[in-house]
Symmetry: none
Subunit: 173 residues, 2 copies
DNA sequence: CTAATATGAATGAAAG
DNA sequence: CTTTCATTCATATTAG
């Protein structure tokens, strides 16, 4: 029950996207088919297709996959931690019947098969293409202070400023 | 109010930086003023100034700008392709900060007036508000990138035989 | 109606 | 710079 077919016709509160059952079905199917992180182009295509069933934007698809994947993982992680003692085993995955009925196997596998085939050919470069500029990475490294458990940082000990006044360069604000 | 008193006030869990509203405001203002990729020195200064409002590290500032910039771009990219399906109007569906009170970032969500490519000067000098007309560069880069990358798009799951290049695998609908 | 839960949205952090 | 991950916030939905 509780058909929440909102997005398309009913009085949809414009607060946030409310996927229709059809949209959710498609998204779920795609996910089950192995799609986990659609590219921008794919997101747009999917969104376009789903718009038939109701209002939807690219970002909705983007978030959907992001959330779905994250929660799947989160749940799995919970199970890992939730299984503190698993004494003996308790496997119930003995079903060996699936092989004929559905055509599941056709697209089931797609995971990261790590096709590290053509990685990096020994390009043998005489000179480095770029002279390591102080990229963001470097900056980050530089900023990498010690955030360890806040370790008694003497913060705010100096002369209590009463008002910051952001003299930085916000003067013009 | 349900103001969660982030970073600056109550029990700040040292999990990750939780910017105060003031910090966010300043950062946002700087961004809007055109600052996009602050230099190491600028980051230090900003961080120093913002520390008045609460705990903050340089890397937080670094990450903030990096994320903000990336998301602004991503958002824009998406809006471009997203079609306002809803007949009539499609705006004003997002921001209803009526009661929230909380949630920093009034950078609004999506409906954003064509915010003009601002000055986008990479470093934003301190005082010298010298000439700065680089508005077009950004735009150009934007358009140029329009038809780029879209090359990949090949996560075909399984043998995928006769499938036009367009309909992703939504054919099973 | 209120509490609990499911899930859309946002964003800090970091990897690539 | 781009993309992904983890966590958190906010709200729609459902349970009690």
């Amino acid at each position: 029950m509780s058909v929440r077919a909102r997005g398309g016709g009913g009085g949809t509160k414009c607060g946030r996207w409310n996927p229709t059952t059809e949209q959710v079905k498609v998204l779920t199917d795609l996910f089950r088919a192995g799609l986990r992180t659609p590219s921008t182009d794919e997101i747009q295509k999917i969104s376009s297709q789903l718009s038939f069933y109701g209002k939807i934007e690219s970002k909705n698809v983007f978030y959907w996959f992001q959330n779905h994947k994250a929660r799947e993982r989160q749940k799995r992680r919970r199970i890992f931690v939730d299984e503190p003692k698993a004494e003996g085993f308790h496997f119930s995955c003995q079903d060996n019947n699936i092989t004929s009925t559905k055509h599941f196997s056709e697209i089931s596998n797609f995971n990261q098969v790590v096709e590290q085939s053509e990685k990096v050919k020994e390009t043998l470069q005489l000179f480095p293409p770029n002279s390591l500029n102080e990229s963001e990475s470097e900056k980050l490294r530089f900023f990498a202070e010690d955030c360890k458990e806040n370790a008694a940082f003497s913060y705010n000990i100096g002369p209590e400023k009463d008002h910051p006044t952001l003299d930085l360069r916000l003067s013009f604000l």
